[in-house]
Chain length 421, copies 2
């Protein structure tokens, strides 16, 4: 195959997708990666675990595209037939792949579980294919190249598929591309996607190299700045003007570059200054502590989180004064401040954070659903913010809690940056 | 059209889906509704805002199915061409739909915004179609019936699409259905998907009505048992033999039916008995508390969670004895037991849970990554389990923590069920 721009299709295989039991995040993930590689994608499809229909879908997909990427159907069970069907489509047999079998055996040994006969089937791979190891599961992926066509088979679980896509498939596909893409992810908090887009519309719509694309998630926006280069060393110079323009327009909301998320940014900032943070959470109920301790090495910056769901526990564990609760209520600015101070004291930390609010589903103590107070206290820096979150659908509770906890992490980050030294 | 079971396809239209900018939740939502109606769905597709490719996709979809449901492309802008393309596919014109125009005019009046000329385009509907009003936006949906084919066009935004699906499309489609599907979800913990499948292979592969299908997630398996009935009252009798067989084979691992997840099952069980649980978490760092408080109404069964990440906090907040930490280490059965007892005491709860372990990335105190102790203590019921989790990839930390916290919820559920009264 030459280096002309290829087109691809995504074909997700799984009856659970057809039944609507799971949302197809794989298609979006792969689509974004293909877009970054500059590979055109005009169709995505979903088909069940049915060899006949899968075969027909492959036929249709290859009539329109050079590359077909499948997900799913690589498991150990009788209805996992993707490898068998795709191999047959190309007239190939499945043969035992020794390295994959070894990996499977060692995987089950480490798990201390016997390897069943049907797991062995996962080491059977199409003849003459490129095998993609799966460090996160038992199903290796693979690529078959034949007659100008490329079929890429990936496992269905996102936590297996995503690393395989990033670490094996992208390098594999880059061989066919003339250019390399180099990206930086700019992470913003406290500014909405449409506001950011309005500030940067000219750049986002007119800049070709680098491209600037926004991605929104709960309460956050990420801008991905991507340069198309022949030599990665050129990337910095190509990106510099766009980065300067973005910084000028929205730098005050930028909390980190290539940093992943708020909790990772906070851990890094605390570590750099040798500080600790402590938490007292009510409505978020441990979510902020869980996000922070999800970061490897969090123990260097975090000793204690208190999840005080009842008023008694706010007094007993976080030292909130009974008078404060009686006068202002549990959902109040005053309580948030005392939670922050109490967390700081209890945890012997430089920075304390308090979160209290009503995540729903019902109003409580006359405070509406969606009202949240978040306070930070470092001695040097104190701030309390009020959130009024209007969302009222089935996901409102999770949304309110996530937004509250993100605001808490962001306040802690500000307090850390304002801390002397 | 007769009442024979129809088959459908979903065709989602939108370049933002192809680029991976948004995840296709519409396909899953519609798929689930169709499954509940007993309408077969064998394919889902995504295509961009491109009339030629959309026409080709319609051709393919109608070669395989009686009903094609599209989402997206009903907006006011120049690239929204779904109605035009589908109407042309059936050889129909677009005509002004007076009621839709009225609705649009009143919609903009209420908003206090002028209605632009391109919004008027949203009141142009295919001749002789069934119009589905959109109370949540400006784009009505519609259905075209012709030559035994049905095309259903729905708006793209989920908050407009979902109510239209529920309130207009489902009643429209029910006219064509003879059967209904009734499902129960059986939730298992502590047994792997392949082990469960080996125990139930005969049932899973041979049973036609009901069907039995497995779905795995971290540390859990769900079996969905689905009966096809004319009258929902028949479902229980049809399912009974399969349910009995499943219970006999794996009942000891079944933690709930139609209960969603471990935390919801635990909240319900605690509420039924009027009990409270309290948590002291080390390696899970608040994750168990966050899962529990994610359940609406958790405040009735949960007052306090302690996230004691350092040894000092294990002593100070959860009352672990310094001698225990010195002699056995923080990651030990003894510490887990004292954490459970300490949580119970601090929270004034009937059931206390303690979790301590090493979630990685490095060994600590000579304890390997993946070694976790979970203890439960209700006075009546005490149990401590040891986990050795072998996983060592990028997601190992999240996996170890999730599995530890799931085991904690499961132990608390057991303690709750063993509690007198």
């Amino acid at each position: 195959m030459g280096t002309k721009t290829k087109s691809a299709e995504i074909l997700c295989i799984g009856t659970e997708l057809l039944m609507g039991d799971i949302v197809n995040t794989n298609a979006a993930y792969i689509a974004r990666r293909l877009a970054e590689l500059g590979i055109n994608l005009y169709h995505q499809s979903v088909v069940g675990d049915n060899p006949g229909r899968l075969r027909d879908s492959l036929e249709i997909a290859f009539s329109r595209a050079d590359i077909v990427i499948t997900t799913g159907g690589l498991g150990p069970t009788y209805d996992d037939l993707s490898k068998e069907t795709v191999a047959a489509f190309f007239g190939r047999k499945l043969v035992l792949h020794a390295e994959s079998l070894e990996w499977l055996e060692s995987y089950f040994t480490r798990l201390g579980r016997p390897m069943t006969e049907n797991n062995r089937k996962q080491a059977m791979m199409p003849e003459d294919c490129t095998v993609f190891p799966n460090p996160n599961g038992t199903a290796p992926g693979c690529a078959i190249e034949q007659d100008g066509r490329i079929a890429i088979l990936l496992p269905g679980p996102p936590r297996e598929m995503q690393p395989m896509m990033d670490h094996a498939v992208i390098p594999f596909l880059q061989r066919f591309q003339e250019y390399r893409l180099v990206s930086h992810n700019l992470h913003f908090f406290g500014i909405g996607e449409s506001t950011l887009e309005e500030k940067l519309r000219a750049l986002m719509t007119s800049s070709i190299n680098p491209t600037v694309a926004p991605y929104a998630k709960t309460g956050e926006v990420m801008l991905r700045v991507t340069a198309r280069v022949q030599d990665p060393a050129e990337a910095d110079a190509i990106m510099a003007p766009a980065l300067a323009e973005i910084d000028k327009a929205a730098g005050e909301f930028l909390y980190g570059v290539d940093v992943g998320d708020l909790q990772t940014a906070l851990c890094r900032a605390l570590k750099e200054k040798g500080l600790h943070v402590a938490l007292a959470e009510s409505c978020t109920g441990g979510m902020t502590a869980a996000r922070l301790t999800g970061v490897p090495g969090a123990s260097q910056v975090f000793e204690c989180g208190i999840c005080c769901y009842s008023n008694a526990m706010k007094e007993q564990l976080a030292g909130v004064r009974p008078g404060t609760l009686a006068q202002y209520g549990a959902v109040s600015e005053e309580t948030a401040r005392e939670l922050a101070a109490g967390a700081r004291r209890a945890g012997g930390a430089q920075i304390g954070v308090g979160i209290t609010g009503n995540a729903g589903p019902e109003p409580s103590e006359g405070k509406p659903v969606g009202l949240v107070y978040v306070a930070v206290d470092s001695g040097w820096y104190q701030e309390t913010i009020t959130l009024n979150i209007a969302r009222r659908d089935d996901d409102a509770r999770a949304y309110i809690r996530t937004l509250a906890s993100s605001n808490a992490l962001n306040l802690a980050l500000r307090a850390c940056r304002a801390y002397p030294g």
